[in-house]
């Protein structure tokens, strides 16, 4: 059982994490050098953000066997942008105790006030949570992400990074409501051994398939974060078996997703929810296997005061327990019932506690159950 062999991050044993720190640090240094040399004209503006966090995780009640694990994790998300007259450069680099990765590097051209065409590596618009919070832990209320919205290297089942073209377009309506559209096309992740691996701009390899992604949203008011909408994607995920015998004859996975999301705000309440249908066609050399499932989550948040938020989340699904595709991802979080409380203090700092009853996919359709206690400090510094 993998949990007995290593520490955990987002329900995933750390020994499976890619330790790319040494390889990426020189690239990070070079990137910082290039960015600082970017020309600053009279109209140019830099934006620099640091989003540090530190997490403590305690896991208990594993079944079977009854093993207790704990983990301490720290990281900082570095966001930089340069905005010129009609051009923008945006980069996001995550440096943590587990990984060092260039998450986003995109160059944008703004042909009109309400549109931006990006080229580079960006987060898939077909995921609400990912395109709303990115790697900024301080901005999301909960410590954990819904399993539907996990990153590729943290048990995710759908592409979260695409390298290619991304068009964002807003249309303001007469009543100050806004229709937003985002369309992306590019290289998606490959399936390597037991996880999805996104295209790495600092270590490009061939063999990545096509990813198409779409999000359409409606915001009732221009200045309010409330919104709801539709997301969809088509992904051709090429497979590299590595040493995984289950993948020996699997050539490619074609994945179609379609779903809805909502982020509504009332005076003391907020509700974030998404429901996404998945259809996978696993193309083996001797034939294909299809499966369908639905993944969903509901996260209500109650503002006890300006500084305290009580929240919870239910991660549920239909058909995922017996999915042939998800069975290839044994650390995928199939169910999680979670409650937590967050305290905002000082200038842009927060302490969050979460307790969760969690199940992960496991081997051979046998779910593994455990309890998680998490404590996180997060902040935003500019």
């Amino acid at each position: 059982m993998p949990v007995a062999q290593g520490l955990w991050l987002e329900g995933k044993p750390m020994h499976r994490q890619k330790r790319r720190l040494c390889r990426s640090l020189p690239a990070l240094a070079a990137g910082v050098g290039i960015l600082s040399a970017f020309p600053v004209g009279a109209e140019g503006q830099h934006e620099f953000l640091l989003l540090p966090s530190a997490d403590y995780l305690y896991v208990s009640d594993l079944s079977p066997p009854d093993i207790v694990e704990s983990d301490v994790h720290a990281g900082v998300d570095v966001v930089y942008s340069f905005t010129g007259e009609h051009l923008r450069l945006l980069g996001e680099y995550l440096l943590s105790t587990d990984e060092s990765e260039l998450e986003r590097l995109q160059l944008g051209w703004s042909p009109t006030d309400n549109s931006m065409l990006w080229v580079g590596r960006f987060h898939s618009p077909a995921s609400f949570w990912i395109s709303e919070f990115h790697h900024g832990k301080y901005l999301q209320t909960s410590i954990t992400r819904p399993s539907l919205e996990q990153w590729e290297d943290e048990n995710g089942a759908t592409p979260s990074h695409i390298t290619g073209l991304h068009l964002e377009f807003d249309r303001e309506l007469q009543d100050e409501a806004v229709l937003g559209f985002a369309i992306a096309a590019g290289l998606g992740p490959r399936f390597v051994a037991d996880e999805l691996v996104a295209y790495d701009m600092l270590d490009p390899e061939s063999g990545h398939g096509l990813s198409l992604a779409l999000r359409a949203s409606y915001r009732p008011h221009l200045f309010s974060p409330a919104q709801f909408g539709f997301v969809s994607s088509w992904n051709e995920i090429n497979v590299e078996p590595a040493n995984n015998p289950d993948l020996a004859t699997l050539d490619r996975i074609d994945q179609l997703t379609a779903g809805v999301f909502v982020d509504m705000h009332w005076e003391k309440l907020r509700l974030i929810s998404s429901l996404v249908y998945h259809h996978n066609n696993l193309r083996y050399v001797d034939g294909g296997v299809s499966d369908d499932y639905v993944l969903a989550y509901v996260q209500p948040e109650y503002f006890i005061s300006d500084d305290f938020i009580l929240f919870g989340r239910v991660d549920i699904g239909d058909g995922e327990d017996h999915s042939v595709y998800l069975n290839l991802l044994p650390t995928f979080i199939s169910h999680r019932n979670m409650v937590g409380v967050r305290w905002d203090f000082a200038a842009s700092q927060s302490l969050t506690f979460e307790f969760a009853d969690t199940s992960q996919q496991g081997e051979n359709f046998n779910h593994e159950h455990y309890k998680e206690f998490r404590l996180q400090w997060s902040a935003a510094i500019r």
């Binding site: 934006e47 989003l51 942008s81 340069f82 905005t83 006030d113 301080y138 964002e168 974060p225």
Partner: protein, 148 residues
């Protein structure tokens, strides 16, 4: 009797006059003389300060702020962007993370802000009216707030 009544009356009048002067502050939105913008709606000003691109003709409006004056900050949050400081900060963080949107350029002093204003083709900054009179090469677009 005359002096006993007149002096307190004069002092009271002086106090009332000083109070009226103090309360007669106004906050104005200014740009540099080269900028072709002559008027901006309250909505466009709010948009510009909340990270929404606003253009007039082919000129993009660049918002600037003088920070550190508590009264000016209060007017900014209450009147110009109409949201709490916490909501404003959260929105600015969110836009920077999602789209790389820069927040309004922040300056510690009026002099610094006015110098920055001259370096932009079409920047806007809100200031106390009396700070604007003393400066050159600016034009007032509108009065944003008036105390009385």
């Amino acid at each position: 009797m005359t002096h006993r009544v007149t002096i307190p009356l004069l002092l009271a009048s002086l106090c009332l006059w000083l109070d009226a002067q103090a309360n007669n502050h106004s906050v104005v939105l200014v740009t540099n003389e080269r900028c072709l913008v002559s008027e901006l709606s309250s909505l466009d000003i709010r948009k510009a300060y909340l990270g929404v691109t606003v253009s007039v003709g082919d000129q993009v409006i660049r918002p600037l702020r003088v920070v550190g004056d508590p009264e000016l900050d209060r007017i900014f949050f209450q009147t110009i962007v109409a949201m709490s400081e916490k909501s404003y900060e959260r929105r600015a963080l969110s836009l920077a993370l999602k789209f790389g949107t820069p927040r309004p350029a922040e300056h510690e002093s009026v002099e610094e802000a006015l110098a920055a204003l001259q370096r932009t083709s079409c920047g806007i900054v809100f200031l106390w009216a009396e700070d604007v009179h003393a400066s050159n090469n600016t034009k007032t677009i509108r009065v944003l707030w008036q105390g009385n």
